[in-house]
Symmetry: D2
Subunit: 330 residues, 4 copies
């Protein structure tokens, strides 16, 4: 039985806790949050204790920690958990600073602890099945990847200001998808974008619409398109062209009702909220984390993956700002 | 907090137990099964106790029972639970004998206990959304219902012999869908069928392929088609034509991957196994049962619904055997 | 070069004429119509001559006639054209009277002339491809056929009165599809229906909504559902369940535009007008007719097919009127 | 009645001739081709005469010419036809040289003749309907355009050598789609690509896989992805994200058959051959050309459109070769 401490009892913390307690072989022991009431409620629901981080890390019975607190605390908590020898699951991103993220990766490597970053999309049933079929050779060698990644609506400008910018905030997931699906690394990246939905975003120094082109070591090509606003909902698709065909991951729908009227033939819009869209993915990533601990196998999304996605986000930001193609060191 | 006893710790019993423990306000107290080991394992998993039926029904703390044992025990357990004043959730069918089912309905009515029959399809997200939109008038008045209901493969002939025949065993669900969707009652029914997949089914006196036509009091029409074998999996669709359009409920797929190759453009086959297809429906029906108890509102699928579906199954069987249209008393 | 005379210069006559002149090896020589202006216009458009039927049939150069005049003239024109030794293409139905249709079939057989009935649906690219794949064994032996056949809106009651009733007027096509797709003959048929769209139809002694069940010699099953009104347009689908899978023929759409908005995700409604839906089918049936003449091969849709579809329509009408299953002589 | 001469009796010439003769108000008078037999056959089929270009242009009765000869003859024939005062329909591209294309545009402007370039995709029913709905405001202001444009298989390397390169040969159509759909002009363009299908293409100095990003005056974004090889066929899609939703143009399929077996649920692959995919578009563009002549309205695809698409192709080629973003003069 693995005892687990969770740091962060907010929206995503609750989801991770709920998924954790359904795992045979795991038990939620401690909940920690800057908001005592949130910590208390989550602990009560699952028969766990409220504890501060020090106490949780000091308990030798605790085998793993789930870091679901705010982004600016991730790096510090990773360093402390690694020092305490705990297995770590940390929400993305590792940090908005590449240097700090790299420091975390080094600390994790030195401590030889498991550290998994919550790129939950790799555990989405559709995306995961596509990757498995691609790896099995169903469409031959992958040659081109087209990623569509659009949010239903832009967050407030106050969020934008501390978000790290669209490339670190939104495309970080897509850069991880790119590396995972093509199993290759970028050699050049070119990004451009505009502010088309809300001038407050431009005033915050950011854009809301972006397109990125990537070329890889093996000559493969990737295009990503992103917008902060899609009136029809959360749009999460990608397609891979290979030498023998194409695999496409389409959106998930809440129901399979089709309505035919004098006006139109219509189906459901995509799952609107990311927690609905990736409900299964969140459950599967926690199961994977515990499974990897128990069976001592590598996790699918390492802290190095977190660092590399951040490098791509920084390069894309530079490309956009300077309006030029960026060559990436190999 | 409602204490619940479950009778039956087999495949479907485990599913109901798992869904029950996720409900706030409910607790699994007792598990009973003719197989002591099965009862023990399920009880241990959820911190419940093994108990025989008498003891469970005698405990005044028990507010509800879930009957998930074999079909031939349903009627007896309903009668005993009603006599004990417990709220009852019972898997379909109430009984293979219409008389016994009617006796149960009378007992439930006299005891004034909640009794819900597990027609889980009414809680399927797609079917439920269709019904809600139909009731809201999206396609005007319903005029015609076409139901497609096919199993992936026929069960062994030994099962067929004690199944009550295809109309009671398979179409019982479809007859309930018919009554629920059209909100109307049959006045005539005509059924025909064949044995096309396995001659052992014919030898058991049954058929494996059937078509049914129903006409309702208000002149609405319903067609049901069924087969024990669909090579591509579990096929569960229906469509309603109304005065202003059509609503269709399509199959659910495991993933949204689309593959385009030199051979074909293909998508996933339908969810193959009924426990996968109706996973969400099973969870939602248990939540509904508890919600109805707590809020003292009627359940969506009453024991009268169970009786009426059985009446239609008997009439369809007679129509098939005698090759004639059966008029139903109003 | 085959010289052809066309009888009937109305809507469908114009379509057949336009398809004819695109065929290498055929020439439109005469146009005949009770409306002289219609005949003149069609003749002028294609460089043909206006002629009365006698003159056209008397011209030994004429190898074939296309009968596209009103239904009540079909039988007489078939008899005269057969007597004149011409190859015949005749719009469906042969006649509303089974006896007269049978007399035509005998005359055609005695005259040993080619006679093709315009069941154009057998030439629809989707339906034809489905039949070819079925015949190639892609889904094993066919077991069940479900036909959906709905018009966008009911014709005026005046038309209904002389239509022969819904089974001869609308389902005649579906009965032909049934025989063609299953390659089998009915042994029993059961029909029921209602008048749900327009009480004038009931006053005319007819129904607007009908369902039919058929059982074949080989035990195969067929269900047909029909309505005179589908708010979303012309609905023409069928599906075949076989021992190894299912083939479905879906509706055709005018364009492949998909629109996603805050309200819905929608695609085009089905082709609304039967002349659009079956545009390709009309062209392909005329090509087939000429090809059969030139290559002296049997036509796909014979006058016997016309007679047999009519027999099913009569049996269905009787079943509906008497509310009983009709056994068909073999 | 407009008399028309066609220059070029090859594959595309035959298609244009067939579409022309179906137009009321137009007549094919002359056919010219370097291959006398091809010219003779096409002329015979439609009752036209074989004539050399001089004679055709000298005939004052000729109102329009269709240029369907090889690309290297287009510019010369445009200049001669403009000088002769004929209306001109010319297959794309105007010329592989931007200077020559611009000279043609000037000559056409000076001669004040109608000149339409055969960007047939603007007349595809799906693309055209999407544009009409976009222009009607269905999804608000367009913000982002994603174009997918893939051929089934690469042509021989010998063709590649004289093709002008992938950007002029394949993407010329996509650059026109970009300008038409967004109704905007590019201010910067960035292209990259690889040779992934056939090393002979690299040896010919070209690539077979390319991605392009474009930013417009109004800040709109466009991504194009192209490959010379798509194992599943000819892939021609695009989607527009607007402020109020998205419009997508999907591929056309030969039939609407859906097959469900133990292996998969599959539909038809896309129309494989460009002449099938754009059959309707070719017919509609000729009708548009004649209609524009008769009604003296502007054509939808002018020679200026041809020049501007070529400018984008040149800029994309430069961007790819020098691996940098190209700013376009406004």
């Amino acid at each position: 039985m693995i005892d687990v401490a969770i740091f962060g009892a907010g929206r995503i913390g609750k989801i991770h806790a709920g998924n954790l307690v359904l795992q045979a072989g795991a038990r939620l022991k401690y909940v920690s949050d800057v908001n005592p009431q949130a910590a208390q409620e989550l602990a009560a629901q699952h028969g766990a204790q409220v504890a501060d981080i020090e106490r949780a890390l000091a308990d030798p019975a605790v085998g793993a920690v789930l870091i679901a607190s705010s982004t600016d605390t991730h790096a510090d908590l990773i360093l402390r958990a690694a020092a305490a020898g705990k297995a770590i699951f940390c929400e993305k991103p590792v940090d908005l600073s590449l240097e700090r993220a790299q420091a975390c990766a080094r600390a994790v490597a030195e401590a030889k602890v498991t550290c998994m970053i919550g790129f939950q999309r790799r555990f989405d049933p559709t995306f995961d099945a596509l990757k498995t079929r691609l790896a099995a050779g169903e469409i031959g060698d992958p040659e081109m990847l087209i990623v569509t990644s659009r949010d239903p609506a832009a967050p407030p400008a106050s969020y934008i200001k501390s978000s790290g910018g669209i490339f670190k905030d939104m495309l970080i997931h897509d850069f991880d998808i790119f590396r995972w699906i093509l199993a290759d690394e970028a050699v050049s990246i070119s990004a451009t974008g505009s502010c088309l939905t809300d001038s407050a975003i431009a005033e915050a120094g950011d854009i809301d619409s972006a397109v990125v082109s990537i070329r890889t070591r093996r000559g493969r090509l990737c295009q990503i398109n992103t917008s902060r606003r899609a009136a029809y909902g959360y749009d999460q698709r990608f397609e891979v062209l290979g030498s023998k065909g194409m695999l496409q991951a389409a959106n998930h729908k809440p129901t399979e009702v089709l309505a035919s009227t004098a006006q139109s033939v219509s189906q459901d819009k995509p799952e609107h909220f990311f927690l609905d869209r990736y409900r299964a993915a969140y459950a599967r990533e926690i199961a994977h984390f515990l499974d990897a601990m128990v069976n001592r196998v590598p996790v699918r999304t390492t802290i190095e993956d977190g660092v590399k996605a951040l490098q791509l986000a920084e390069a894309a930001t530079l490309s956009w700002r300077e309006n030029r193609t960026i060559e990436l060191s190999k």
